[in-house]
């Protein structure tokens, strides 16, 4: 059943902007991205919004809906009843136009995480891994890079100055994924997470886990285990020595 809803959309760019009210038709089962598209096609031809798959798989349509970081394609209009729905761009990143922000911060951080390093002697096709051993990293590889966790993280959300030394939850799970990867041979991933990527700045409020549309347990399964091991290695002299001798840190 079609009905009219009130939508409040942030429009503007880096220099200026504000909320604009529109009325738009919404049909049964529609998501917020559907009604934004309807506004675009009928009322605001130049309304900027990112999207791709409209199925929760690509992580493009990240925005803030009534103040919460969400994917517009996975947020049902019906959730809000008769309430006005307010859509604003991600707050942690600079606005380009309307609902589109400059997320290049994330791609720069991605370049700074040392890549996967398989054993030099491994022949393609010869790798043997047990399902149980790949599953830990597979959880983190579900990440669709929507950057909602980066947006909600209070270390950078209102602290532009922290961005330089903080990679953010998305890249903590990337480091954890590589660290737990059965074939990765690079040493000291956890330590560099702490020393170079700002793991220590996280004080585990779990906001990132709450907004993750893939339900990845970012804090419990990636950040906390890494923090614990970093603490172990750093403060236990025997383990510290072990980490220097053994091929991979932390294996005891």
């Amino acid at each position: 059943m079609a009905r009219k809803i009130n939508l409040r959309i942030w429009r503007g760019d880096a220099t200026d902007g504000g909320l604009q009210d529109v009325q738009v038709e919404a049909n049964e089962g529609e998501v917020v991205l559907d009604v934004i598209h309807r506004v675009q096609a009928t009322q605001m031809g130049d309304l900027a919004v990112r999207w791709n798959c409209k199925a929760g798989k690509c992580g493009s349509c990240s925005m803030e809906i009534n103040g919460k970081p969400r994917l517009a394609c996975m947020t049902q209009v019906a959730t809000y009843g008769d309430e006005t729905i307010t859509v604003t761009p991600l707050r942690a990143f600079p606005v380009i136009k309307d609902l589109v922000t400059d997320v290049s911060f994330n791609y720069k951080k991605a370049m700074e995480i040392p890549a996967f390093e398989p054993p030099k002697e491994l022949v393609p096709g010869e790798a043997r891994m047990q399902q149980v051993d790949v599953e830990r990293s597979q959880e983190f590889r579900k990440c669709i890079e929507c950057f909602l966790c980066q947006d909600v993280c209070h270390v950078v959300r209102d602290h532009e100055e922290n961005k330089k030394s903080f990679a953010g939850p998305r890249f903590f799970i990337r480091i954890a994924e590589l660290d737990m990867h059965p074939l990765d041979t690079l040493k000291n991933r956890k330590r560099t997470a702490q020393e170079e990527h700002g793991l220590g700045m996280c004080n585990i409020t779990k906001c990132c886990t709450e907004v993750c549309p893939e339900h990845i347990k970012i804090t419990d399964n990636a950040i906390i285990p890494m923090k614990e091991r970093v603490a172990d290695i750093k403060y236990d002299p025997v383990r510290w020595l072990g980490s220097k001798i053994r091929k991979r840190e932390g294996i005891v």
Binding site: D13, N27, E28, G29, E30, V31, D34, Q40, A41, T42, G45, D46, L47, A48, V49, R50, W51, N52, C53, K54, A55, G56, K57, C58, G59, S60, M74, Q76, I96, K97, D98, V100, V103, Y107, A110, M111, I113, P114, A115, F116, P118, L122, P124, G125, A127, R128, M129, Q130, Q131, V134, S137, Q138, R141, K142, C143, I144, E145, L178, H181, L183
Partner: protein
């Protein structure tokens, strides 16, 4: 401003890759590893390309799940699936090289699901004789794209160590649209486009261009494709003087979501059937048994008991008919709905809850569970899904040389992945797309690199740049013209109603007239607002591409007077052995698309002999069978 040469943003590269999905990224890796400087253009952010939506897996005859599997069996399955209209050489290369391409991804960090022995697990899929699809739950495409994205970052890190900068030798230009491929002296010289973010224009000069832009789904109303599937590469290639082959063949995936309306078309992976999901109509009848075509009768079970036994014992039972190739299943669902045996919202039922436990469903099909639960309020561990056909894949595409992926007729131009034609014949098997883009992405990168090393590019002439810039400026200069959103919606209605899953000559004639009319009106599209991230402006260019693709599809479809794979003519319901010997070639003269017949190369004896002659007799003329191969 933009025609001022001094102000124009310009780049020089050895190889320009248009498209950052699986094929484009694989090509870029290969070209960079050959020592060249590479630019990757993506229309959206890096890592968002449509490849992320591939769910089921990548087909490769590694033989991990059944040791009888090998490239010959995969080759046979692919040719059968395509109803023998495939270019035999592409199908051969694909079958032979897929396993190496999958193992290579593992060396780059990919983590596929495992067998008990710790090898890469392989799952069943429609048309594949053995379990063959390497997979990661039901998010295999994401794993592929992320692995290659991270491989590119690894190459950039190596470049930083060696040359001091991450982007010195391979750079991703995200959110940039290419509007034209440029030629000088009859060969590739570069490409022209605009940044989506700012609207400002960019010139790339490069002796080789690899098109890897994916599909055309957005020309249709109900599609599983993301907004990027607007046939850009198909249109760019046509305009650059390349040909398209067999554009009448579109794959309607049998299972898209049908309810609620906002999700109509979103893909429901074939893995649901591979894992044991069954299709029923509103009478509760498992209807697929009625739709096994003669050519497949010896391979598919005609009763439920045998079909069910197959899941436990594949050597002594025939496969369930739910696992027929996609074209067969899509037509069957269409017939059931037309006969009044559809579900409430015009689909049929797909149920996996009776065969698998809730725990296993959530583990093997996590994103399907999530998708139905969040978007449709359906718990697939307890109840059936409503599904129906959705436009999913275009088998047709740029005519290429099989070994090099070089576009026929345009030196320096290459095409790989969905945008290339020939590999899949009249119908693609599930799982063959991800392996296709790896095999031919690599080959395109390799061949482009070899070409660049023995050629010099002519500089792009000022007049060429001025013409490309004028085209971008045009819609801003108009006022009160057509709205690109409305024209797009009109085009989608036409293709859906007249060029869809079942076609007739009269409807196609009507479609050709209507598409021409929309195309005429599209030359008068006006854009409101400025250049900065303006979707109305972006759509104006995407629309132009979609119209050209739709014209090519409709004109190819009206010519092919038979039904085969992803082309079903109500007025010519049978498969015609004469038509099997021909491809349809589309070319563009600057005003319209023309379509002509061209002989399809016949396979050599060593490939011919892989088949049972009795099977070939179902597809080939007695003369062809008697000849026994081209050599």
């Amino acid at each position: 401003m933009t025609t001022d040469k001094s102000a124009l943003e310009r780049y020089k590269y050895d190889v320009l890759v248009i498209g950052a999905g699986g094929a484009g990224l694989r090509a870029a890796v290969e070209a960079r590893e050959s020592g060249l400087r590479v630019a990757i253009i993506c229309k959206s952010l890096f890592g968002k390309a449509h490849t992320v939506m591939a769910e089921g897996g990548a087909a490769a005859s590694m033989g991990n799940a059944n040791s009888n599997d090998n490239w010959q069996v995969h080759f046979r399955d692919t040719m059968r699936g395509g109803k023998f209209l495939n270019h035999f050489r592409m199908a051969e290369l694909h079958a032979k090289e897929s396993p190496d391409r999958i193992w290579e991804l593992e060396m780059w960090g990919a983590l596929f699901d495992r067998t008990k022995e710790g090898k890469i697990s392989q799952r069943n899929f429609g048309g594949h004789e053995y379990p063959r699809l390497a997979h990661v739950g039901d998010r295999t495409g994401l794993e592929l794209i992320r692995t290659m994205q991270q491989k590119i970052v690894a190459l950039q890190q190596a470049d930083k160590r060696e040359h001091g900068e991450y982007e010195s030798h391979i750079k991703v230009f995200a959110e940039l649209t290419i509007t034209e491929i440029l030629k000088e002296d009859g060969k590739i010289a570069g490409a022209y486009g605009y940044w989506r973010e700012s609207g400002s224009e960019v010139l790339f000069e490069a002796p080789a261009v690899i098109i890897a832009t994916g599909g055309v789904g957005k020309t249709f109303k109900i599609t599983s494709n993301s907004w990027e599937g607007t046939g850009d590469g198909h249109a760019l290639a046509l305009k650059a003087g390349a040909n398209l082959v067999d554009m009448e063949f579109l794959q309607f995936h049998p299972t898209g979501m049908v309810w609620p309306p906002s999700v109509r078309g979103i893909l429901v992976t074939e893995s649901v059937r591979g894992e044991g999901g069954i299709l029923t109509n509103s009478n509760g009848e498992r209807f697929m048994f009625k739709y096994i075509p003669d050519v497949f009768k010896d391979k598919y079970a005609d009763n439920e008991t045998e079909a069910d036994r197959w899941y436990e014992d594949q050597d002594n039972n025939r496969r369930p008919p739910e696992l027929l190739p996609r074209d067969e299943v899509a037509r069957a669902i269409n017939s059931e709905v037309k006969a009044g045996r559809g579900s409430e919202h015009g689909g049929v039922f797909l149920d996996v809850s009776k065969r698998l436990s809730a725990e296993i469903i959530k583990k093997r099909l996590p994103s399907m569970w999530h998708q139905f639960y969040e978007l449709a309020g359906v718990d697939i561990t307890k109840e059936p899904m409503e599904v129906g056909p959705t436009c999913h894949y275009v088998m047709g595409g740029v005519e290429v040389e099989p070994d090099t992926a070089a576009a026929v007729g345009v030196p320096g131009l290459y095409a790989a992945g969905e945008v290339a034609g020939g590999m899949h014949g009249s119908n693609r098997l599930g799982g063959n797309s991800l392996s296709d883009l790896l095999v031919f992405g690599r080959r395109a990168g390799m061949a482009a690199a070899a070409y660049v090393k023995q050629t010099t590019a002519a500089p792009v002439a000022d007049a060429t740049v001025a013409a490309a810039a004028a085209r971008i400026e045009a819609p801003f200069a108009r006022s009160g013209g057509e709205n690109s959103y409305s024209l797009h919606a009109e085009l989608q209605e036409v293709t859906h109603n007249l060029v869809g899953i079942i076609r007739t000559g009269n409807e196609l004639k009507d479609a050709i007239t209507k598409i021409a009319d929309i195309r005429k009106r599209s030359t008068n599209v006006a854009v409101s607002g400025g250049r900065k991230f303006n979707p109305g402006f972006h759509l104006a260019f995407d629309l132009d591409n979609m119209l050209l693709v739709a014209e090519s599809t409709a004109k190819s479809a009206i010519g092919r007077e038979e039904s085969r794979g992803g082309h079903t003519r109500d007025d010519f319901p049978g498969m015609d052995m004469g038509w099997r010997q021909h491809n349809h070639i589309s070319s563009f003269d600057g005003t319209q698309v023309t379509v002509r017949k061209q002989a399809l190369p016949f396979m050599p004896k060593e490939l011919f002999d892989l088949f049972d002659v009795e099977e070939l007799k179902k597809y080939m003329t007695p003369d062809e069978v008697a000849k026994g191969g081209s050599n």
